[in-house]
Assembly symmetry: C2
Homo-oligomer: 335 residues x 2
């Protein structure tokens, strides 16, 4: 097992390129700080469909089709498609991607799904099972609020710790040949439960799992915290970032300005009234596929450790008094 370098981390030996990336987002995301980086901004949350769920599926289909097209390949060239989302039974991705006719591996890691998709995709290629894999994740503010919290029509007040589910989908094509940043290490997280029960404070619920994955990554690779130009968690938001900095300090992991969070980057929380920041499967998916991928390609940054974070909550079990288990998966991507 030469590829395994620790309990959580494997090394990707083969040259494995992210040869394309695509990000389709909603109107609010298109008004935020990253607006110029997204491939497509829909001017309304319906994206021309009759329901939020169908819009979510259309974001999936659009982003995946676009990533494949940008890679210069065809759907038939894709050996696998990996995707997942927040809708019950991952209905956003399965309905959205059913027409692509690519062998499909459905995954679920809540908002860590993009990290899991890239992790598994990279291992399947490095293991010799595939040459090209398209993978990604998505979410929709309206379908998520309706499903996890309150009907939007209720106009419920949102507490300061709450985050705003990103509307959109992001996808990348991983390939054995081509040009683009390489996936070099994959660190797979464990489920960590901090005992947090507040579905409006997912940053606190996920900070423990994120710290666990980040600490494992640096310990097992032997890299120092200044190795990466960017270390970006998925959707801890400002609340979760404040907590994880304390946890990381306890692990003697100090960051000098290179630690950030996709949920903090994607919105201007003050102007856009998103409180703690962005969240949802799409948060890390579109922030990477739209923003960081372009920074890597333009050599504005040389590498990134991306750590999508997921709150594995289930409303039924939450109503029975349970806490929110969480998970995070780290992927090292280098130009």
């Amino acid at each position: 097992m030469g590829k395994r370098i620790g309990r959580h981390t494997v090394k990707i030996d083969k040259p494995l390129y992210i040869v394309s990336a695509s990000s389709f987002v909603g109107k609010k995301e298109g008004e935020g700080p990253l607006k110029d980086y997204f491939d497509y901004v829909s001017d309304d949350v319906m994206f021309g469909e009759k329901s939020w769920e169908k819009a979510e599926s259309k974001f999936f289909k659009s982003a995946f089709s676009s990533a494949i097209e940008k890679s210069g390949k065809k759907p038939d060239d894709m050996n696998y498609m990996l995707a997942g989302d927040l809708l019950n039974q991952c209905g956003g991705s399965t309905y959205g991607l059913r027409d692509l006719k690519i062998p499909f591996l459905g995954i679920y890691g809540a908002c860590s799904t993009f990290g899991e998709a890239v992790s598994l995709g990279s291992m399947l290629i490095d293991g010799g099972f595939a040459e090209n894999i398209v993978c990604g994740a998505g979410s929709h503010f309206c379908s998520a609020e309706k499903q996890f919290r309150f009907p939007l029509e209720l106009g419920t007040q949102r507490p300061p710790t709450s985050t705003w589910t990103v509307t959109g989908a992001g996808a990348v094509v991983l390939s054995t040949s081509g040009f683009g940043p390489k996936v070099t290490y994959v660190t797979t997280g464990k489920i960590v439960d901090m005992g947090v029960k507040d579905a409006a404070n997912m940053g606190a619920a996920m900070a423990g799992a994120a710290c666990d994955a980040i600490a494992a990554h640096f310990k097992e690779t032997g890299r120092t915290t200044d190795y990466y130009d960017v270390v970006a968690t998925g959707d801890l938001g400002t609340t979760g970032k404040a907590i994880i900095k304390k946890y990381l300090a306890e692990e003697n992991l100090m960051f000098d300005g290179n630690l950030t969070d996709c949920g903090i980057e994607i919105f201007d929380s003050e102007k856009q009234d998103t409180h703690s920041g962005g969240s949802g499967c799409a948060c890390s998916a579109v922030t990477f596929s739209g923003y960081y991928y372009k920074l890597l390609m333009e050599k504005k940054i040389k590498n990134i450790l991306l750590i999508p974070t997921g709150a594995l909550m289930n409303t039924t079990v939450s109503q029975q008094g349970e806490s929110i288990p969480s998970i995070a998966h780290a992927v090292a991507i280098e130009m």
Copy 2:
């Protein structure tokens, strides 16, 4: 890509053994034809817990812990854990397995999940990323009915095409060393939508995806239909089996008594009033982990092609008029 032999199928090169299997089931399953094969039969559906959802999680924890113990290894020896279930956001598996502290890859393929878990687990080991992986799936009749169809208290009449969600969980340990049947080929299915909209006729919805995966497997491996002692779909039931036989005949695939379905094997549908048969993620998981695994170990059968089948429905989207996309993954397991 020497491992890939066709659009859907890869060959597992390394000796890769299923070194242990465990099946925990509910009372009704313990009264059916396979009662003597299960590792543990709970005498009620609550399994000592206060809710159906918590019982479902306990089935997961029990089956996974038992499979690890029977393998002679410890949770810390497991490089990955792969699991998924039918509860929204896969709450059965994530809550059930959170205490095991094993790097976790959550998957979702509806009732095909067990097939996806063994497929991905086999590829991760064959690719050199792991030595030991525990993987499995589960479901619960009561939590599934409540979530997908009607409150049980309503006493809704069930149509003849309906199936009975199996209560329980099944898990296996895959390993590079040890004794047991080997995983030799993995055929990953595409999403296939037959346009079926009736959530009480999942056999019809899934038959197309199952036929697609089976036809791909035989075409790509070059094997003949009599190669396997058992060719077992996941949960098509009697309704779906009648349909798939027609589809397979159109592909010139005729079976001589070796084609069956886990959902038909697990219940005596007449005596147990289960109509078309068993279903749910647990159906193929416990039927394989309990029954077929023992038949293989006792050399009563020399091989099996297991094709867990999944109906990727989402109640919200179904209520918006959508049909039920489906998927199936085939795994060749040989003694």
